[in-house]
Each structure stands twice: as C-alpha cells, then as structure tokens.
C-alpha cells in the first residue's frame, strides 16, 4: 500500500506526529486508535501491534 503518514493520520483523526511516535515506538496508542488503524488497513490489531518482552 502506498500510504503516507499524513494519509493515515487524516483517516483515523490524529496528528502526523502521533503516527510518527507510534511507528518509532515512543507512544503506545489506546485501543481505540489501534482498532481504527486495524480497520484502515483491513487487518487485525495483532497484525499491527505486538507485546514487547518488557510489557
């Protein structure tokens, strides 16, 4: 998929910085944002996010 951070941010109603922070692992989104992202990519939340060993 050819999608920019801005496209995703607009689609799920957050800022571009928030998408960047999630991608770089500096911000853990709420389940609502995770579900919106999963719906946008037409996949499951587990396909996008996973638990880290320290979680």
């Amino acid at each position: 998929m050819d999608i920019t951070q801005t496209d995703l941010a607009v689609a799920i109603g957050v800022s571009k910085q928030t998408i960047h922070s999630i991608e770089s692992g500096r911000f853990v989104p709420s389940s609502v944002i995770a579900l919106k992202m999963a719906r946008f990519f037409n996949t499951s939340v587990e396909a996008i996010f996973e638990l880290e060993p320290e979680d």
Binding site: A9, V14, S15, Q17, T18, R26, F27, V28, P29
Partner: protein, 170 residues
C-alpha cells in the same frame, strides 16, 4: 478548553506584554500617564500573564490522545517544579530573618514560572519529541529513567532556569 484559533491571540498578547515590560524596565518609557513606572510594569506583567493563560487553555490543532498525554505530563512536571520552588522560597524566607516579606511581584513570578514551565514542556514534548523519549509509564518512572531522557530534561531545565531568571530578576 478554548479552540485552537485563540492560541495565536494569546501568543500575541503575551509577547506584547513582555516587550512592553522590557521597555518599561530598561527604556523607562511611561505609556500609562496615571501610573508610576513600577505600576505600569505590574500592569504589563498581568497582560503577559493573561496571554500565557489564554495559550494554556487553548487546544492544539490536533488535540488527540498523544497531545492530551503530553499535556498531562507537562502539568505534572510543572506542578512539582513549582512546589519545589515555593518550598525553597519558604525555607529561605523562614530561615533568614533579614529576608523581607514576600511581595506581590514574587508571587507573580512563581505563578508565571509554573505556567511557563508547563507551556515549555508541553510544546517541546509535542513538537520536538526526539527530545522526549515518551513512555506511557507515569511521571515517577520517567524521572527514574533520566539516563534515557537526559538531553530532553537538560533542555527543559536550562529553559526553565532562563525563564525563571528573566521573570524574577529583571
């Protein structure tokens, strides 16, 4: 909270307040003929503070959950720093008999320090997040992880010290 469109007006008002404060203190220019220079300085202090308060209560363009989380953390940090400054001042004035009574300008300085600290931490955290290794683990956990956040914290502390020196001693 107010809409994002009012934020720029808060910035304009606070900058005008700060510039006129500096002109009053260093240029000795009297704009308000009914007042003395010190009274005029106090009036412009309040104008600056009003602008900062307006900025403080305005939403960001994208007030999403990350912005709210950083806002909360900025409030927590600014509150702790302001309390530390207040306690340190109480200790100093309570220990040394020669210290004079706390006047209104000092109370103003402490209040302005808290607001400036909050705005600095919030905006640096929101727009320069490479400085702030954000982890949703609460304030105490982040203070313990200072070795991760040391550059960000150093920047905050230097900016806070400069802000406090400006509003206290100028």
């Amino acid at each position: 909270m107010y809409g994002h469109q009012y934020k720029k007006w808060g910035v304009v008002v606070s900058v005008i307040g700060f510039i006129t404060m500096m002109i009053t203190r260093f240029g000795k220019v009297l704009f308000l003929k009914k007042y003395s220079l010190d009274q005029q300085y106090a009036v412009f202090e309040w104008i600056m503070l009003f602008g900062l308060i307006l900025v403080m209560f305005c939403k960001e363009e994208f007030e999403d959950e990350r912005a709210k989380a950083i806002r909360l953390k900025a409030l927590q940090t600014a509150f702790i720093i302001e309390q530390a400054v207040l306690l340190a001042m109480a200790l100093v004035t309570g220990t040394y008999k020669s210290a004079g009574p706390i006047d209104a300008s000092l109370l103003f300085a402490v209040s302005a320090l808290g607001i400036i600290m909050y705005l600095l931490i919030f905006h640096v955290g929101l727009y320069f997040d490479f400085l702030w290794d954000f982890e949703d683990r609460g304030l105490l956990e982040n203070w313990r992880n200072l070795n991760k956040n040391k550059w960000g914290m150093l920047v905050y502390l230097v900016l806070a010290a400069i802000a406090f020196l400006i509003i206290t001693f100028i």
